[in-house]
Symmetry: C2
Subunit: 402 residues, 2 copies
C-alpha cells in the first residue's frame, strides 16, 4: 500500500475554510486507499500572536517555556482537521510531537530531531487512520516540549517520510513549485520540474524563500524525494531529489537585503582581518561575503556584506575599529544587491563565471564584489541594477520560459 506524507503550511491552514479544503483533498486520497500522514503548521499569524504575548512579559523569555507556548498553534490546526475528517466519516487522529514519538535534543527553539518512534503511527496507519501530526514540535528525552525553528514543519514532514519509508513527501504550499528566479523580478521565470538538494540548499541560503534549509539537509542525508506543490489543485510542482539532469545554471537568485562595508588602508599585519570582523560577529551580526585586498604599501582594504537591517550598527562598530587600527576610513553602502547563479553542472563547465561577468559588463553594471563556490557564483552590484542583472542573466543562461 502506498504511503504518503503531506505537509500544509501557514496560508493553507489559515482558517476554517482552509481546513475544510484540506479535508476534501485528504478524503480524495483516502478513497484511493493510500496510507496518509498529514503534517500541519499553525494558522498563519498564530505563532506571531503567541510570540507577541510572550514579549509583553519578557524580552528574553525562558526558552523551555517559550517553546511550550509556541507549540500551541499546531495543536489547534491538527485537532481541527481531525474533527473535520471525523465529521466526514473518515477515521482520523491527531498526534502532538510527544504522541508521535518525535524525540529531539534539548536545543529549545532550534531543536534537532534525534529519532522518531513510529510504532504508534504505524499501528494507526495499519488501522486505516489518517494520521495528523503537529509540525514544528517534538519532545526531548525528559518529556519537555521543543520546537524546531522557523519552517520546522517542513523538517517534521521530511523526517516522518524518512522514518516511515514513505513513497512520497509533499510540501503543499501557496506556490506551485520552485522557480528559476523570482517571478516578481523576471516575467520569464519558469517553474523547475526537478532540482537537486544541493541547489535548493544554496538557493535557500542565498535568500530565496523555498524551504527550511534543515529540512532539505535532512532529506538529502536520508535521500527523501520532496515534491513542492500548490496546496490545492494537482498541477505543477517541483521535485527535489538527486535524479534530475545536471543544469549548468538552475536559478538566478537576487538578494536586496544586503549592505556592503569597507575599511580602507589598514596597516597589514597578521590577524588584522580578525580584528576587523570579530567585533561584528560578537555583536550577533551575520557576515556574508568577505573580500580582502593588499595594496602596494602593504595596506589592506577589507570589504564585506551584512544584512541591510544591521547596516547602521555595523558602520558604527567599523568606525571605532578604523580608529583603533589607524586605518584610513570606514565607509559603507546599504543600497547594494547580491546576484547569484546556482547550478550543480557548473562544476564540470569552466567559463561560467567569466560569462556571468561579461553579461553584467555588457549591460554597464559594475561588479563591486565577487564570491564563488563549487555550485554558486555571486556578484554584489548596485541595488538599482538588480532587476536588469537578473533578467539579463536569466536570458543569457537559457532559463527563460519557452
Amino acid at each position: 500500500m502506498k504511503k504518503i506524507v503531506q505537509k500544509y503550511g501557514g496560508t493553507s491552514v489559515a482558517n476554517i475554510e482552509a481546513i475544510k479544503r484540506i479535508t476534501m483533498q485528504v478524503a480524495e486520497i483516502n478513497k484511493q486507499g493510500k496510507q496518509i500522514v498529514i503534517v500541519l503548521s499553525a494558522m498563519a499569524g498564530e505563532t506571531d500572536g503567541l510570540i507577541k504575548l510572550a514579549k509583553q512579559i519578557s524580552y528574553n523569555p525562558n526558552k523551555r517555556e517559550y517553546d511550550a507556548l509556541l507549540s500551541i498553534g499546531e495543536q489547534k490546526t491538527i485537532t481541527l482537521l481531525a474533527i473535520a475528517l471525523q465529521s466526514k466519516g473518515i477515521k482520523a487522529i491527531s498526534l502532538l510531537g510527544h504522541q508521535a514519538g518525535i524525540i529531539t535534543d534539548q536545543r529549545y527553539a532550534d531543536a534537532r530531531i534525534i529519532t522518531i518512534n513510529t510504532a504508534r503511527i504505524e499501528k494507526l496507519l495499519q488501522k486505516n487512520y489518517v494520521v495528523i501530526v503537529a509540525g514544528f514540535q517534538g519532545i526531548d528525552e525528559e518529556n519537555n516540549i521543543t520546537t524546531l525553528g522557523r519552517g520546522g514543519s517542513d523538517t517534521t514532514a521530511v523526517a516522518l517520510a524518512a522514518a516511515l519509508k514513505a513513497d512520497s513527501c509533499e510540501i503543499c504550499t501557496d506556490v506551485d513549485g520552485i522557480y528559476t528566479t523570482d517571478p516578481n523580478i523576471c516575467k520569464k521565470a519558469s517553474r523547475l520540474k526537478f532540482v537537486s538538494y544541493d541547489e535548493i540548499l544554496e538557493m535557500a541560503s542565498l535568500g530565496a524563500k523555498v524551504m527550511q534549509i534543515r529540512s532539505v539537509e535532512f532529506a538529502k542525508n536520508n535521500n527523501v524525494p520532496i515534491l513542492v506543490r500548490l496546496a490545492f489543485g494537482s498541477k505543477g510542482g517541483t521535485m527535489i531529489n538527486n535524479k534530475g539532469e545536471k543544469n549548468v545554471v538552475t536559478a538566478v537568485i537576487c538578494d536586496k537585503n544586503q549592505a556592503r562595508l569597507t575599511i580602507t588602508a589598514v596597516p597589514n599585519k597578521p590577524g588584522v582581518a580578525a580584528k576587523i570582523l570579530l567585533p561584528i560577529s560578537e555583536a550577533g551580526i551575520t557576515l556574508d561575503m568577505v573580500v580582502q585586498n593588499i595594496s602596494s604599501e602593504n595596506k589592506a582594504d577589507v570589504s564585506f556584506t551584512v544584512p541591510e537591517k544591521d547596516f547602521e550598527r555595523v558602520l558604527k562598530i567599523l568606525g571605532k575599529t578604523a580608529k583603533n587600527l589607524k586605518a584610513e576610513r570606514a565607509t559603507g553602502d546599504p543600497d547594494v544587491a547580491k546576484i547569484s547563479i546556482v547550478g550543480v553542472g557548473m562544476k564540470d563547465r569552466p567559463g561560467i563565471a567569466a560569462k556571468m561577468f561579461e553579461v553584467l559588463g555588457k549591460k554597464g553594471i559594475n561588479i563591486l564584489m565577487i564570491s564563488t563556490s563549487e555550485i554558486v557564483i555571486s556578484c554584489v552590484i548596485e541595488e538599482k541594477f538588480a532587476e536588469l542583472a537578473v533578467n539579463a542573466l536569466h536570458t543569457a543562461f537559457g532559463l527563460d520560459k519557452k
Copy 2:
C-alpha cells in the same frame, strides 16, 4: 517545609496584567521559603473561543480531538506565568497534564483522575522550583489528552494537594469566599468562615456558583481542606473542611432557572411515573424535583421541575404523554424558583422544615412543591417571591450580617 497548592481561575488569569499580578504574589510566597504548586485555568473566554472554532466544523466534534483542542487554553497561561516568574529571577517551570503525571480514565470531556505520578513535581519542588501545572487536563494510559469537564481546574488543584500531601489548597477566585446567600439578592449576606464538604456539595448542586462538585467530592474523600479566597489580597476566605461548627442552617440558596410542569389526572397504574418521566430523561433533560399525589378517584397528579431553558421542549413531550396516557392535561410554569436551606446541623434539630414553611407562609408566599433530604429543605415558589423568600429565611435562621 510548608507545601502549598494555589489555583487561579478564569478572571484571575484573564490577561497579561493578571498574569503579572499572580507573579508578584507568587514571588512573595516564594520569599517565605514555601514549596509552591500553582494550577491555572485558561484565560477567561479562551476555552469558549476554542469551542466556537470546533463547532464551526462539526456540531458533534470527535471527543478525543475536542479534548486535545480545549486543553490549549491552559498551556498558554502556564507557560506565560512561567516566563513571567523566570523573568523575575524565580525558578519556575510549567507542566502540562502529561508532564505532571496526571493520569485519567478515557472519559473524554469528563475524565476522572485515576492517579498522579508526582515524582517529577516532587523533584522540582525539592530543587526549589515553583511548579505551574495546567488545570483541567490529564492524559489517559494511551497518552491521549483528556479534560476534566467545566471547572476541572479545581479538581486538578485538589487532586494535586492530596497527592502531594500539601499543607493547604487555595482556590483563588474573584470572590473573597462563600456566602450565606447570593449578596445580589440579600444585602445582609455574610461570608462563611467555615463550611463542610457536604454543605458545599449541596450548595453547588442547588445552583450556587461555588466550586466544581467533583473537586469537592475529591477533597472530601481525601480529607483535603480547601481555602476559597480572593485571588489578590489576603483578607477573608472560606475554609472548606469537616472541622467547623455544625450550623443548623448554613446557607439559603435560590435557583431561578427552574420550570415546573404538571400532568393531572393520570389513571394510576404501576409504572405510570416512569411512563411520564422516561421520555424526558431520554431527551437528555435533567429532572430535578418530582412529586406525585394520588387523588380520590385513583388518578395521579405528577409535578416536577426541569431547567428553565428546557421548558418548551418538555411541555411538548408532556403533551404527547398526556394524550397517550389519557390524562386530563399537561400544564407548566417557567416562572418559578427553588429556594433551599442547607445545614449539616438540621439532622439533629427537628422542626426546621416547619419553621421554613411558617416563615414563607407569614410572608404570604404559596409553596408549590416541597422536597427534603438530610441536610437540605427545598421549596418551589413563584419566581416573583424569590427575593422576598430569601431575605425572610436569611433573617429567620440568624444568617444576617452583624
